[in-house]
């Protein structure tokens, strides 16, 4: 077979089509039935939780948000509520919506392929796992007063004395932030010049800013856990 004919065959194979009825519809039908059966069987054996009547005078301890928001509640440990509850989810959502417009790599459209999209897949999977790891910690490892307990430990209601926390003085915190974001933007632009050029100025800046913010969260968490750092930046209006 000539090269042309081979390409033709390969092309036909790629676009080979089958009738939706019954090839697709039958599978959807089976999936729907299986889903219903699993739901009903699970619901038959495991009751949905229902606690005592709501009582404004008697707070739950710990009071936990629904599980899918526990990642945000968990970062309340490390950030003030306006960051953990509002800014972080907003940036996550805007960042998610921006993905198709900042990822200009045309490769890997329509199939599972890591090799062609190492950067994109690594960053996305990291964020995805980060989100769920925080949920797991918030769900299973936070007891009364949001204190940390391993899953095999019994919860105690003693209020643990919080370790004395220190805030970075601004003369240290502001330069540290400037260096982190400044170098974070500059170094990859130089080290991965081809990548940065491919993205273009605006896309590169948005991408790196989102990445640095995500990693910055992790760094702040590490600073808190290792050195009890409370804030890295203090202003009369807000602290970070």
């Amino acid at each position: 077979m000539s090269n042309h004919a081979e390409a033709q065959v390969a092309n036909n194979k790629k676009t080979e089509k089958v009738f939706s009825w019954p090839n697709l519809v039958a599978k959807e039908f089976i999936a729907a039935i299986l889903c219903t059966v699993i739901l009903l069987v699970y619901s038959y054996y495991v009751d949905a939780p229902l606690r005592e009547l709501a009582n404004p005078g008697e707070p739950e301890n710990p009071a936990k948000a629904p599980w899918y928001f526990l990642g945000l509640q968990e970062i309340l440990v490390y950030f003030d509520p306006w960051i953990a509850g509002v800014i972080v989810p907003s940036i996550i959502l805007v960042g998610l919506m921006a993905i198709p417009y900042i990822d200009v790599n045309p490769k890997g459209n329509g199939g599972y392929c890591f090799r062609d999209r190492r950067f994109a897949i690594t960053v996305f999977l990291f964020g995805f796992i980060f989100w769920y790891a925080l949920i797991v910690v918030g769900t299973y490892m936070r007891g009364p007063f949001w204190s940390f307990f391993w899953p095999w430990e019994t919860w105690s209601f003693d209020f643990p004395t919080p370790p004395p926390s220190v805030s970075l003085p601004n003369w240290l915190g502001i330069p540290a932030l400037l260096i982190y974001f400044g170098l974070g933007m500059l170094v990859p632009a130089v080290a991965f010049w081809k990548f940065a050029k491919q993205l273009g100025f605006i896309r590169y800046n948005i991408t790196m800013m989102l990445l640095l913010l995500m990693l910055g969260m992790l760094i702040k968490m590490a600073l808190r856990l290792m050195f009890n750092v409370k804030y890295v930046l203090q202003t009369p209006w807000f602290n970070i």
Binding site: K27, D47, L50, E60, K64, P66, I99, P100, W237
Partner: protein
């Protein structure tokens, strides 16, 4: 046996039957196409789909399952509305009735609750699947944006349902959630720059969510109306767009 087949044939040849069911199961390409395009429910599908698209290992059925669970929640939710009144003096008693008195009420409520959690899970993994297959790339960028909005609406649907049992679990979970809203910069009374707009506890974004300065009867009603009417309508509208765009942006993604 022959008699049964004879009766079935007689039945399916009647004018009444044919007026309802236009096409039989004749295995011809024309009939298979007609099965899809002349059926209002099935015509969401194209007549033909790429062969790789019907592989379970490509989509894992996640988008379809999410939509199916949404339908399941709609049906069970409507049934639950027959038994549940969003009034602080009744809501919890209605839950107890559902659990112990209403026939199949326990299964109804429990499966509605687990289905809500299941939908959050399937929608998250649908997003992961779409990302890993690069399906958000041109020309499907905008449909990904719609998908992110639907993800948020799924969270909100589940979150507003959380308060409805009016038990300790829901009450304090909503307390945690809406207190975060109070910390919104500029628009929440505990957030930075709140005094810029003169935002206080009785006119901030938390107040708008709760219908008051604390979780009380108006909050329950608001959660109920958003949960049963407001958000489902918005989600439904966005789902129409989402599915429409799947077809219009070139059908399901595949190797270029």
């Amino acid at each position: 046996m022959n008699l049964i087949l004879f009766l079935i044939r007689k039945l399916t040849e009647t004018e009444l039957w044919k007026s309802v069911f236009r096409h039989g199961y004749t295995d011809t390409p024309r009939n298979r196409a007609l099965q899809t395009i002349s059926n209002v429910w099935l015509h969401l599908h194209p007549v033909k789909v790429p062969k790789h698209a019907v592989k379970i290992r490509y989509t894992w059925c996640l988008g379809g399952l999410t939509f199916f669970i949404f339908l399941y929640l709609t049906v069970t939710g409507v049934l639950l509305m027959f038994y549940y009144v969003p009034d602080v003096n009744r809501a919890y008693a209605d839950m107890i009735d559902l659990m112990y008195v209403v026939p199949l009420g326990r299964l109804l409520r429990t499966s509605h609750r687990w289905a809500g959690h299941a939908m959050v899970i399937t929608v998250c993994f649908h997003m992961l699947r779409v990302f890993l297959t690069g399906s958000y790339k041109a020309p499907r960028q905008f449909n990904w944006v719609l998908g992110v909005l639907l993800l948020v609406l799924t969270f909100l649907l589940s979150f507003t349902g959380y308060l409805l049992p009016w038990d300790q679990l829901g009450y304090w979970a909503i307390m945690v959630g809406t207190n975060m809203g109070a910390a919104t910069p500029v628009m929440g009374y505990q957030g930075p720059f709140a005094d810029l707009l003169g935002v206080k506890i009785n006119n901030d974004v938390r107040f708008a969510l709760l219908g008051g300065t604390q979780i009380d009867a108006p909050s329950l009603l608001r959660a109920y109306v958003w949960h049963c009417i407001g958000i489902p309508i918005i989600s439904g509208a966005l789902m129409i767009l989402h599915f429409w765009r799947v077809r219009k942006d070139g059908g399901i993604s595949g190797p270029l």
